[in-house]
Amino acid sequence: MPSQREAEPGQGTKLLSSAELQLVKKDMKSIWTRSSRRALLVLLPVMLVVVIPAVYFVLILLMPEAPGARPPEALTALLPEYVSGLGYKQGWLVIFTDLLCPMLFLCVPILTGAASASYAFVMERESGTLETLLLTSMGPKSVFNAKTTSCTVLSVLISGAGFLAFALTVTVADVFAEVRLFFTLDWLILLVLEMPTLSLFSVVFVALTVTRVHSTVESLQTMGYLILPVAAIYLMQLTGIFRLNIIALILISAALAVLDVVFFNAASRGFTPEKLLERDGVGEE
């Protein structure tokens, strides 16, 4: 009896085929339902965008304030004009929120993107299920598209949720310190442009290295390579020489988008059964 296969009307216009959609759902569920993976994907963002800022804000509010003390002028000069009129604690609060917190926030899409891609690509290769997927009618390109989509969507969702938690934490601190609310156009660009492009970049970067790494642990270590440039750029602001303004953020987002396309195509081209399985010493027989 012939199989009753699902008809896919208008498949050409769909972003994902039904098989890809099923794999996306399975991957997201698989990454999320395992407590060890969920712990990594939740605890790291919570630590970065809730715990560290909260501790810092508490320390700022509790630290002794010498009369007439002011934050470093080189830093306040980088911030909006109203900051120079703020007190010592308020000034440090804004400096931390505007100059360092973006770095902490951007670590979230990097970590979650790279971690979920490590699970979806490398761990599946290690466990032999990637080979089983390559033996289905999806084809390598479809498998790659589905996995990239699931990891990116998961990373964006977690990062979005992380931002909400961060916004709540900072707003509470802003209210206590009696400063203007933190959300500016810079943050909007970070949230809608830089965060998604960075999520996708982390995912395709891990996907690009899937044929080169030996294990999931090794793959997870790639997160370090991705975080370093972001940390370096944001920490350099503390020298007081420059600040990432709106134009710089848009340019970085555009550059990331271009890199996303380049890396996506390169990773997709390299996602062939022969390259994926040669590391496992297949075909020894």
């Binding site: 009753q4 099923q22 032999g128 089983t132 033996l135 009618s137 059964p273 022969e274 496992d280 020894e284």
Partner: protein, 335 residues
């Protein structure tokens, strides 16, 4: 129409070359037929299945499955082909049932069809009670059956199996064999199985390929392979204790008398000889060499041929095994 074809198929791993994992393999499997390629470890079995399933691309030569080139039309190919490799696993965080439904969905089966097919396969393979288990909880034999169910979930026209026979317990071997026979007879599935368990495939595959160190030594049906390899039939007699068998027979440890035969035609004469000589004959039968014995005969014959080629120059045609009329020709590789 041939469902599976390999033409001078060669695979060398790595850029440095070295000994080919598969060298100049030619084989054809007609649609609806079953073929087993047998050989020990490192004989090229897994490489052959990987090439035919598109997981590897040949270094030279070509292969086709259902008229498609596996390396270039993998997605279309896998909608019609089921493949079991020892290294392709099921999801440990899904139950066996969910695994089958997931792969059925990936293969674009409707939900109801997937449920019906998965139920059928799990019952045929005696895995119904284990359907809610994780693949991690299954025994090795059960896992092999589960992998077979996954490969058959979308009713493929061709089934490629790698090492399915190795290390199977009796229950698994029986169930797998029954299902493969059913798939062949009722669903018209063409089967190519690569295994080192020659006893498992001997009785239900219609043709065989003998792989050795990446080379297909010969292919054909069992009888033609026997003739080509020079594996002799044996006459086996069970006589009354104390009776002597005719000349040429040797007594075995189990008390039976055995002798090599040139052909089955000799058997009636031998029986007559025993009976007319006053012997008490309790049992007489012709023992056919097993696939393993035929394989060994081909190996020995190959070694002898190699020694002759290196020792003294002889006309190669003289070294080729003779063909017997009425049997499928056993084709020595490279001919």
């Amino acid at each position: 129409m041939d469902a599976i074809g390999a033409y001078d198929l060669t695979k060398v791993y790595g850029p440095g070359g070295g000994r080919p994992a598969l060298h100049g393999v030619n084989l054809l499997v007609p649609e609806g037929r079953s073929m087993a390629c047998v050989g020990p470890e490192s004989s090229g079995k897994t490489t052959l299945i990987r090439l035919l399933s598109g997981l590897l691309r040949p270094s030279s030569g070509e292969c086709s499955v259902l008229g498609l080139s596996p390396g270039y039309e993998a997605a279309r190919l896998h909608s019609m082909v089921g493949t079991v490799l020892y290294s392709s696993k099921l999801y440990a965080d899904l139950s066996l049932w969910d695994n089958l439904l997931f792969f059925a969905g990936i293969q674009k089966l409707t939900k109801s069809d997937a449920i019906e097919r998965a139920s059928f396969l799990l019952r045929r393979l005696n895995l119904w009670e284990e359907r809610e288990h994780s693949p991690r909880q299954l025994s090795t034999g059960m896992f092999k059956r589960a992998s077979l169910a996954r490969a058959l979930i979308h009713r493929p026209r061709v089934l490629l199996l790698d090492s399915q026979g190795a290390g199977m317990d009796l229950e698994t071997a029986g169930l797998v064999r029954e299902l493969l026979e059913y798939a062949g007879s009722q669903e018209g599935v063409t089967l190519l199985m690569c295994t080192q368990d020659m006893g498992f495939v001997q009785d239900f595959c219609q043709s065989f390929g003998l792989l050795h160190e990446g080379t297909l030594m010969a292919r054909g049906d069992l009888e033609s392979l026997r003739l080509a390899g020079g594996a002799k039939l044996r006459a086996s007699l069970r006589l009354k204790d104390g009776d002597e068998a005719p000349e040429g027979f040797r007594r075995q440890q189990d008390g039976l008398w055995q002798k090599s035969l040139e052909s089955e035609e000799e058997m009636p004469r031998l029986i007559m000889q025993v009976v007319s000589g006053g012997g008490s004959l309790y049992e007489a039968r012709v023992i056919r060499p097993t696939l393993w014995e035929i394989y060994q005969a081909h190996l020995d014959s190959g070694r002898r041929r190699e020694a002759e080629i290196h020792g003294e120059t002889r006309d190669e045609a003289q070294l080729l095994p003779a063909e017997e009329p009425g049997t499928e020709s056993a084709v020595p590789e490279g001919s």
